[in-house]
Symmetry: C2
Subunit: 120 residues, 2 copies
DNA sequence: TGTCGTACTACGACTATCGTAGTAACAGTA
DNA sequence: TACTGTTACTACGATAGTCGTAGTACGACA
């Protein structure tokens, strides 16, 4: 399980990615994120709905009420053209982010017990 | 240039990575991050120093005053064993993060103008 | 009637980052 | 001596995203 501090900044992107396949709603998005990541990342409800509000405020999604099928009335969200563009932008940014962070992350290796004596 | 919202959660890791090579101080760390990322990511001073405080509070680094060589007295930071372990942990987490985010990021491709009609 | 599952909504706390500003010390130049 | 530049922080308040907790609402089923 991943702490969401490291995902922060990509929650919106993940949601938009799923909306590319068509309109969806909170509960379904949440389940799909869990499924796609094999439960490695489970988005919190409050995080998800606050993301929806942010996305709508920014014009990246629009919302409408669907016909419910058991349970409370659903709010569906649909991605807009601006949303698609924002998504593409974030995808490109992700490439950069990977480069940047990878420059500091070393593959795990057994640490020798000796002391480091070659400080500059 | 990268917005730090996406790096958030890895600033501490980057700093620890540099401290693996030996003690260092704010200004030098800052310059080294810029250098290693070819200015793709430039850490803000306030972010950096607040990270130092956090790392020290958590026992991942210790600090001491160095002899200055032109300019104000420097505070040097040295990574601790706990810091090394935390760093390794974050490196493993980074692998997971990459898997998770990559499951939602698609390579940029020209979007066809047609409408999507295969909503589930 | 009560419980379960779905689907939110409200609210306040926390934390990392950021902008702005100020301080301090020394070096070099005029 | 005064000024300017570079190094090296330090303080403070604003902002934004996430999180915990709690509550609401609706339908299905027993």
């Amino acid at each position: 399980m991943i702490s969401s501090d490291v995902i922060r900044g990509y929650n919106d992107t993940m949601i938009l990615a799923l909306l590319l396949d068509g309109p969806s709603y909170g509960y379904e998005i949440s389940k799909e994120i869990s499924r796609r990541t094999q439960e490695k990342y489970v988005i919190k409800e409050t995080t998800l709905y606050s993301a929806f509000n942010r996305l709508e405020k920014n014009g990246y999604v629009t919302s409408f009420y669907g016909t419910q099928s058991g349970g409370k009335r659903r709010t569906y969200y649909q991605i807009t053209q601006a949303g698609r563009e924002y998504y593409q932008e974030k995808c490109r940014e992700w490439e950069l982010t990977q480069q940047v962070v990878s420059a500091f992350v070393r593959p795990a290796q057994p640490q020798p017990e000796q002391e480091v004596t070659t400080w500059k």
